[in-house]
Amino acid sequence: MEKKNPEDSFQVKIDAEEKIEPKDWMPDEYRRNLIRQISQHAHSEVIGMQPEGNWITRAPSLRAKAVLLAKIQDEGGHGLYLYSACETLGISRDELIEQLHSGKAKYSSIFNYPTLTWADIGAVGWLVDGAAIVNQVSLQRTSYGPYSRAMIRICKEESFHQRQGYEIMANMAKGTLEQKQMAQDALNRWWWPSLMMFGPHDTESAHSAKSMKWKIKRESNDELRQRFIDKTVQQAEVIGLSIPDPDLQWNEQRKHYDFGKINWEEFTNVLNGNGPCNKQRMANHIQAHQNGAWVREAAMAYAEKQKNKKVPA
């Protein structure tokens, strides 16, 4: 029998839209790329609980509070689906958390912005989750089976998140003048960072080419960003808010919106740890992890004890 180069057969499988499963042979770099992307995604879900958690005790109604709690619980769940998918690649949960704490692994820079008013909770749901959905819908077709399955599950749950955010914005936009201004202010502050969520332009993106060839990513940063903008402009119009971009304009030829320049200096700055909340987010996570250590140890000790009890019987 002829021996095929494993990397060739791997690419044949990818090109035929077959999913790669944990025990299948894969190039080391494919594995590393996936671990980087999935863990970054998982960390983003978990760190993303913080800016929203900021408003649980101050939600304006019982309904709003119950909804916000459920949404944040979902984000935790999404983090867990993704950690679970990532662990199938042979990295442990402890190592993943360690990489987050040491700064080796990143999370989405959007979560380093503060949620200053209740309208920010609306803007986060509408724009941040909206942008995440565009990305995640595309990732349902990613080539790694466990990642794809996690994405499908997440997408099913995520649309409630965006709708609840848009509902908050819509209600504030038709409220008092002050409330409407608050909603507009939140849109002004979250719009550009949301566009940055899709990552650098295709020409600048470090990991894109390989990720596209291996179908880890299915569509480019710029394609996804454009899709998000095209969807969102109309939604802003419906509730009477304006997108803070003087260059935003429908381009009849392209059948897309043209938009202004993104401030990539800000993006790099926040990514490198200098955003308004980077230190606070990480300190909270480390503290929560350390404060929970005794609980994890006690539960394990109890489980051991119960196991030993059963042996003589």
């Binding site: 499963e21 299948d24 042979w25 619980q73 769940g77 250590a293 539960a299 109890y302 119960q306």
Partner: protein
């Protein structure tokens, strides 16, 4: 990293309705079976997706190796007479 401290991994299987097969949903970490069930419930069935859950210690699962698939399944491949379409039915016979 202190690996001893990490809670064991459990694979989660969910039956969405009685009568349907259990389907793999993902995994959870938990110190014991009871907490594995509770964590699986909180993680994978927040919207009534489950009628019943199995949790299995991940290291108790023995999986076949995809690299061996060819030889592993080979014995079944040439027995096309296991399929109903293999047989020639006389013309006109109904309900068979």
């Amino acid at each position: 990293m202190n690996k001893e401290k990490q809670w064991p991994l459990w694979e989660v299987f969910i039956q969405s309705k009685t009568g349907l097969p259990y389907k793999h949903a993902g995994s959870v970490h938990a110190p014991d079976a009871e907490m594995a069930l509770q964590n699986a419930r909180d993680t994978y069935t927040r919207r009534g997706e489950g009628n019943s859950i199995w949790v299995v210690p991940s290291d108790a699962i023995i999986a076949s190796n995809p690299a061996d698939a060819e030889s592993f399944y080979e014995p079944g491949n040439d027995k096309i007479y296991r399929h109903p379409t293999f047989y020639v039915m006389p013309e006109g016979a109904k309900h068979i």
